[in-house]
């Protein structure tokens, strides 16, 4: 059991242009190095309140039950299903990539009867598909991934949310990659439940996961027949911790909350509209540059994400070798394809702090150089 002495860790310098984490602003990283406070300290309680306020502004909602779950994005996905679904409930879930599939799996572990609405990876879930699934059904919940990180497709939400509402169902969306990178309008769209992550367009390190529940969703979660299967994620308990009572539940990740506080401040300082426009602009810059290299974006035209770009790997090119060279020789991280897209696409993230014209040019130059050497 004797262990060699282990040296302090100094991370190599990386330009993070993968599916997350994205680059964090220096002030966000610095925030985590500030002195710790107790999680029930009045000064910490104050920033808990500010975090809730800022999250409401970013989600564009008045939902009082808006806060960061003390885990990563997948924990907040579980938070939503664990609280809203009881054994035997019928739920309709759009599956057009990894995260739709994960939602179906999580829902079924809550005892749900899952109706899967499938689309090819890279395509969106069409409202007509949801309408067909709802025909003759009164499910508890309809769930769709807004921005599929695994494919780069952006499913339009308003029409699907309207259909869900008409069927008497709660509407749940995954905004892990969309939040703060393109419009997310909880109240205008009529969303009942949403989860997200910190390490994408919020440009905060991974470790927290914002959620929001409408009063309608909260009423469902607080009047259940069965207890929520997760104690850690039970909103009936979390409401008192993040609410005025401050009843001890768990110990919130204090330093991560410092980081999220600072990251949200920067998002609102830039302004959501300006931030969306920046993401759009840099996506177009990337797309134009890729075209010059003879490369194209793999996801459905007209529904391509600004912040996460799946790029088709040309025939005869070794996907992993190119990605490896980008990391090793240029210090640039991009992502691999997942599932059926494995080996077929690269995923280039331009999220939050990572979305700059300079970064677009840097990755295009590096990619161009590697591909031209390959061709030589």
């Amino acid at each position: 059991m004797s262990l060699r002495p282990i040296a302090a860790f100094t991370p190599p310098s990386r330009l993070l242009l993968g599916p997350g984490p994205s680059m964090a602003a220096p002030s966000v990283l610095e925030a985590m190095s500030r002195p710790l406070l107790g999680h029930l300290d009045p000064a910490f309680v104050e920033i808990m309140e500010e975090i809730k306020d800022m999250l409401r502004a970013v989600f564009r909602t008045e939902n009082r039950m808006t806060f960061p779950v003390s885990g990563t994005g997948s924990a907040s996905m579980e938070f939503c299903f664990d609280n809203l679904v009881e054994p035997g409930d019928e739920v309709v879930i759009g599956v057009n990539g990894v995260f739709g599939g994960r939602m179906a799996e999580v829902a079924s572990r809550c005892g749900a009867h899952v109706i899967r609405v499938e689309a090819p990876w890279g395509h969106i879930i069409e409202p007509a598909q949801i309408a067909a699934a709802l025909d003759g059904r009164r499910p508890k919940l309809v769930a769709v991934v807004h921005a599929e990180t695994s494919t780069g497709a952006l499913t339009p939400i308003p029409e699907i949310a309207r259909l869900a509402r008409e069927a008497g169902a709660l509407m749940l969306i995954d905004t892990v990659t969309s939040l703060a990178g393109c419009p997310v309008e909880l109240d205008e769209w009529g969303i009942d439940a949403v989860y997200s992550g910190t390490q994408k367009c919020l440009s905060c390190p991974p470790g927290l996961a914002p959620v929001s529940l409408s009063d309608r969703a909260l009423a469902v979660a607080t009047s259940r027949t069965h207890k929520v299967q997760s104690w850690y994620l039970d909103v009936n308990l979390l409401a008192s911790y993040w609410g005025a009572e401050r009843v001890y539940h768990h110990t919130a990740p204090v330093s991560m909350n410092y980081a999220l506080h600072e990251a949200l401040r920067l998002v609102l300082e830039e302004g959501l509209e300006a931030r969306f426009a920046r993401h759009e602009r840099n996506h177009h810059r990337l797309r134009a540059g890729l075209a010059e290299l003879g490369l194209e974006i793999a996801s459905q035209p007209g529904h391509q994400l600004w912040q996460l770009n799946s790029v088709t790997v040309p025939d005869g090119v070794d996907e992993a070798a190119v990605r490896g060279r980008l990391l090793r020789d240029f210090g640039i991280e991009i992502g691999a394809g997942l599932g059926p897209l494995r080996g077929k696409v690269w995923r280039i993230g331009l999220m939050g702090e990572s979305s700059t014209a300079d970064n677009v040019d840097i990755v295009l130059n590096a990619l161009g150089q590697i591909l031209s050497e390959n061709a030589a």
Copy 2:
């Protein structure tokens, strides 16, 4: 939805002598401000391996399934029960404080039939009580809190673990407050499952939660009839993420892992035996000083924790007022009593970096001053 501009947050200076978080070393705080890496980056994978190695050394185990859960202590408690318990399983749980009660609640949400073995708050769970509960039973699991943070009692584990083993049960212990503050000997004691937290005697900010499963426990978790109810905490999936395959599961909290890496390094640099001796020494210094003030430790004599001291509030003294003055006028955080001990005890933590002779003197002086003013 327009929000006032929110200022950057500068935490006030606090001396953390409560039930956690404890003070973090400057190099641990600084580690979190280092540049982010992707969670599948080879350089990050390397420190994941080092973290696992160092956790094994701190837990004193050879268990390969030893890693930090991406959540706080209560998430790691759920990790253990979610993976080891199936609906209908019988489990024996020692309940002598908040965290024993929480284990019983979490187990019952997994569908367990829970046999509670109760002791008064502040007392230990006696081996004879466990023996009586096991008489004529073959439960799946016996679970006990090693160091009860809510009361300051340290339950001796070896004899209880032996009884569990003889009854064919897995032995699970909560070491949230004990790990790295007093001896924890997984392999020598024959422990099958353990969970902990980072923000106590490891002196790392909250946000990760170390766990370890013996091969026997892992075999139970990987040959279940029902799927693990939590996807996020399913060891069948986490094993491939934290194992050699590095299959994408969730996005690990990168910066928190930097902090844990540095915190574990400092623990091993000091040496476990030296660290335990320091905790013991400062506990005795505190106890002697409290006696001079006419105060005494509330938990069972002979089984008092070194790192968390419940102090009986004298008759006629307003518990919350004293605690409030310590925070406001001296910048010192100590903890309140919970449950039946609410208003009756203060909890003074001397955990990890917080356990120094100077800190003992500082809190004794402040407490003495406040109490003498009260008496005047």
